[in-house]
Symmetry: C2
Subunit: 382 residues, 2 copies
Amino acid sequence: MSEHDPSTPAPTNACAADPLSRFHAVIPAGGVGTRLWPLSRAATPKFLHDLTGSGHTLIRATYDRLEPLAPGRVMVVTGRAHRDAVVGQLPELGEDDVVIETEPKDSAAAIGLAAAILHLRDPETILGSFAADHAISPDSLFREVVAEAVHTAATGRIVTIGIKPTYPSTGFGYIQLGEPLDVAGAPHALTVRTFVEKPSAEVAAEYVASGEYGWNAGMFVAPTALMLHHLERAQPELYTGLMQIARAWDGPERDAVVARVWPGLPKIAIDYAVAEPAAAAGDVAVVPADFRWDDVGDFAAIGRLNPAGSGVTVLGEHARVVTDHATGVVVTGTNRLIALIGVEDIVVVDTPDALLVTTADNAQAVKKTVEQLKAAGADDVL
Amino acid sequence: MSEHDPSTPAPTNACAADPLSRFHAVIPAGGVGTRLWPLSRAATPKFLHDLTGSGHTLIRATYDRLEPLAPGRVMVVTGRAHRDAVVGQLPELGEDDVVIETEPKDSAAAIGLAAAILHLRDPETILGSFAADHAISPDSLFREVVAEAVHTAATGRIVTIGIKPTYPSTGFGYIQLGEPLDVAGAPHALTVRTFVEKPSAEVAAEYVASGEYGWNAGMFVAPTALMLHHLERAQPELYTGLMQIARAWDGPERDAVVARVWPGLPKIAIDYAVAEPAAAAGDVAVVPADFRWDDVGDFAAIGRLNPAGSGVTVLGEHARVVTDHATGVVVTGTNRLIALIGVEDIVVVDTPDALLVTTADNAQAVKKTVEQLKAAGADDVL
């Protein structure tokens, strides 16, 4: 395999091949999901749970959603501790399809390493990054949108997905939609006017009412060449380190180079390392989408995703729940009998060694409690 | 031991002995405490739990409260299934001090059998009946009141205790206090004007404001001769059966007679079988009391008995509870970490195989859920 120098972007939009045949899906599977404690924790992070009642873990559902778009071309980046669980969930993955982080280094290093490895394997690669622990439906609509994003990426852009908001969330970033791009195979692709961080409730309500904004779901699709180009300019140290590792990746020196280089890499989010510099350069686009999307960030999301009508949403393979004038969410990893009497919007999360009782309104506060437990050294339940 | 015929009351007030030397305490230890499910259940009823944070089970605390008044003269009536647990709690009990009900027959049979046995052992006995699962403090004040009740009983009366109400409870019966009785050794003893069943909130508030009413704590003290006299007149069938068993009790025929007679005995509460007929005959008295008393009837009571100030009351030997903006009660029989976030007046009861989440306001509704579980055949958690 000859190395293509990504510091000079390849003329990807001149490539004759169908852009979809160049598409490679990357699933970063990191992050514990602290707000979903005690269900989600270091040993069993969020992506290893079925939080939508589908019968599949979130990472399995993510793989199944992507695989038809990129058959045999799905890569997972995960931590050493979760390798076996990931491979257990996705036995289809080959040796080349799993990238292990020896220690967590945030999203720019994780996705950047995948980009560098795939780029060296094939410099024409169009990479799409999709979190392992989001809930999306229907899959068919998702795939239509991603296919448009791939076609748009093939014209030399970093392409985001802008989800049509269904409520004025203050927990997500927003993308202000711009003008049509007129890309073949991507009739809905638009320019991006601005990216906005999590807004206030008032501003979020304006955004939703205007119809001009989409939620920034953190997905993006781009040629690896373009990604690495922006990474090199914005984070040269990170770029150099990742390229060193990527060059050794498919050879006998992998472990030695990883051990030498990875620990010193800077920790930075992919948004700052790639997306913002690309936006500044006018290299970003957006495909609006109205599939259902949720980052399943807290237990309130689980209630939204699994509406129970007037009663109690129950998740858990062996759940045994009785209720009397109760509403809310029960997530259980045990087979204990759980009785809820006269409680509204309650959230009960039952695990063998820890129990959480809160309300949907307080779902975000779970993180604070987990931090207190960490500070108190309660590692056995974290 | 010669048999005294209790159908003719003995002239107990003519007896020269100190009434206290004739006093025998009986502790009926039946009743599961359904409203305290899942803590209290068939196998481990309420009286086997420490619900006051004292470090002692309720039955142990009851015994310790009574024993100084009736040294060596405390009898427990309990079910076959709880014999070992009771004796484990009260190793001081002799063989003669434990009466086993082969099947539950309500309070008239349980207390009536104790009365009949004690009467045949000593017809001068003054019996006091005190539930095994109530919370009382301070013990010294309790003993002063019971001593007055014993002196009053010695004048040939069935004597109740009227607890000074601390709030307008609709869960307890009330006793309307009458005129002073002028009994030696019982300066506070009064006649009873009326007994009132659980009143409405409005009526309860009037009672409390008037100062003329005491809570009927279900305790009473009476000569066994007088009790049996009223029982014979009101419930002749029950009386005859109990006397048959009592005559055989201290001999070799006990088991055979119990097996033949007990199953056919009528089920009736002691209030209907003895207290009401006695009241109609003008044979009742009351000693007002202002010790602290609670029947620990539900989890709201546990909150009242163990005030946590502004936070969460926690009961449980291995409890491990973290809270953030939470108030209420946690009772745990496990060592699981329990996190409460943003919940008010919550009641969480955590046991190895069942979990209850409710609020203090709904504490009484627990019984309904237990009945539903029973109807559904969920015997493993009942």
